[in-house]
Amino acid sequence: MQAVLRIEDLRKSYRTGWRKPRRSALNGLSLEVPRGSIMGLLGPNGAGKTTTLKAVMGLIRPDSGNIWVFGIDGITAEARGKIGFLPEQPYFDLYLTPRRLLGYYGRLAGLNSSQIQSKISHLLSLVDLGEVADLSMERYSKGMLQRIGLAQALISEPEFLVLDEPSSGLDPLGKEQVRDLLEELKRGGKTILLSSHQLSDIEEVCDGVAIINQGLNVASGSLDELLRSRDEYEITLERPLSRLKGKLPPSASWVDGQKKTMILSKKEVNAALKVLLEEGAEIGEVRQRRMTLEEFFFSRVGKGGGEGGR
């Protein structure tokens, strides 16, 4: 599948003060976002997620490396016309109304007046702000501003969306709405790259993830591919068995209080099955173990990860 975004060996460092050493934010990051997918960018604080997204949007200049968007090297104004961007905690001139704000961004996106009017109506109803479209945003909640941020990212009907923490500051209902919106956009053929701290959000909506730590992509791929453990298997019994003490292979351990499901290393599966069958167990399922995204994340980043970049 052709990649909408391809990043190769991206490096970026920042000056941290007068005569102080430069601090690396990206240390040779490479990444691909396949067309039509939702790719989640995960990483601890300071891992380089926002720096990556800013580089993709041309808001910062990388020290070295390449970025291809739709197969074209470099970020041009033309390329940005096909990308919608939602920055982390988007800010707006609050004296404006959503309608005027979207009109402003529509003009910048090169739309004509009639296109702008029809897009505004459509987007305001999409983000559920149609009824307050003519009120100034001074009294808007954080969630409403986030939704306006999403609407402005969609004003040019972009093929590719880059979203930095789209659920940030939203209540559970707002998060649900964003998730639904992302799924709707994906069904509409959009490609989405989103960064988030919310592992559950990523697991629910993303097809793939890239985990960034200290400016490097430490793991990326489809969720199925990544979360399926290569070394561990899971055996589930139909009914719990209590008389197995000391008979199971050393790597086997129960993962539930009922003693119905155990995980064990791949090489000891046969030995465990033999014991179980001898003891009269009824095997429900034997499968490669699937980790949770949280487990996988910590296995790659470690509990002390983070603050390695910016």
Partner: protein, 259 residues
């Protein structure tokens, strides 16, 4: 070009939502209306004094607006992070930079036209005189404001608004006194070679803003010499040339700035 106009208009809207704009404009108008109350305005030189003081106040107002708007327009957007939404659209940073500058100039033009209208009405009411010559002085004030705003915007690309206001103020002072002061510093045999070198560089690189100051001539009815069309074209050329250089430098730096 459409993006440039959109950015310009956004500056006008932004300025119209700032209290600072109205405070400076109102203060200028009130002070102009109070000029006749000055004691020395009663000794037969009212018109000349009135015009000189009013043009002086207008110059200060234009200076303040140019410096404040020029120093805050880009850092403000960076600080509020609204620039991320804006520059992620299919626009170039050059369009953004030029649009913001032109927006500042539109605000200044609107303000100066308003002031001119008030001045003309006031002089007509007070002295029964229509004085369109004042427009020439306000035009050169506008030109000077263009130079100042472009300089402020260059400085504001990397420095904080406060530092920018201070440096632009310094730039204004140096550019007004350079004709005399810098020339003497450059040619003074008692000065160190370093000082002479720095003074020489500043003398040739900085614009002589005093050339754009025709307030006194206009205030006294152009009795000493007439400010003709040729003189205005020359002054426009001088201001435009310097402003263009500043815009190019500012745009070039801004284009490379990480946001």
């Amino acid at each position: 070009m459409r993006a440039v106009f959109t950015f310009s208009w956004s500056v006008v809207l932004d300025a119209l939502h700032r209290k600072m704009f109205y405070v400076i404009l109102a203060l200028t108008v009130i002070l102009i209306l109070l000029i006749p109350l000055l004691p020395s305005a009663e000794v037969g030189v009212q018109l000349g004094l009135m015009r000189e003081a009013a043009l002086g106040l207008t110059s200060i107002m234009a200076f303040l607006l140019a410096v404040i708007l020029g120093s805050t327009i880009i850092p403000g957007e960076i600080g509020r992070r609204t620039i991320y939404n804006t520059l992620s659209k299919p626009v170039s940073r050059w369009e953004y930079y030029l649009g913001k500058f032109l927006g500042v100039m539109v605000v200044l033009a609107i303000t100066l036209l308003l002031t001119l209208a008030i001045l003309l009405l006031f002089i007509a009411a007070k002295f029964g005189l229509f004085n369109p010559g004042l427009a020439k002085a306000l035009f050169t004030i506008f030109l000077e404001a263009a130079v100042l705003a472009s300089a402020a915007m260059v400085i504001s690309v990397y420095l904080s608004p406060l530092v920018c206001v201070f440096l632009t103020g310094l730039f204004y002072v140096v550019c007004h006194v350079k004709g005399d002061f810098l020339y003497r510093a450059m040619t003074g045999s008692g000065n160190s070679p370093l000082l002479r070198g720095l003074a020489g560089i500043s003398y040739y690189l900085l614009p002589n803003l005093e050339r754009l100051n025709i307030n006194e001539t206009i205030a006294h009815g152009e009795s000493a010499f007439k400010v003709g069309a040729m003189e205005l074209v020359l002054l426009t050329g001088l201001a435009l040339a310097f402003t263009a250089v500043m815009l190019y430098i500012g745009g070039f730096i801004f284009n490379r700035r990480d946001l």
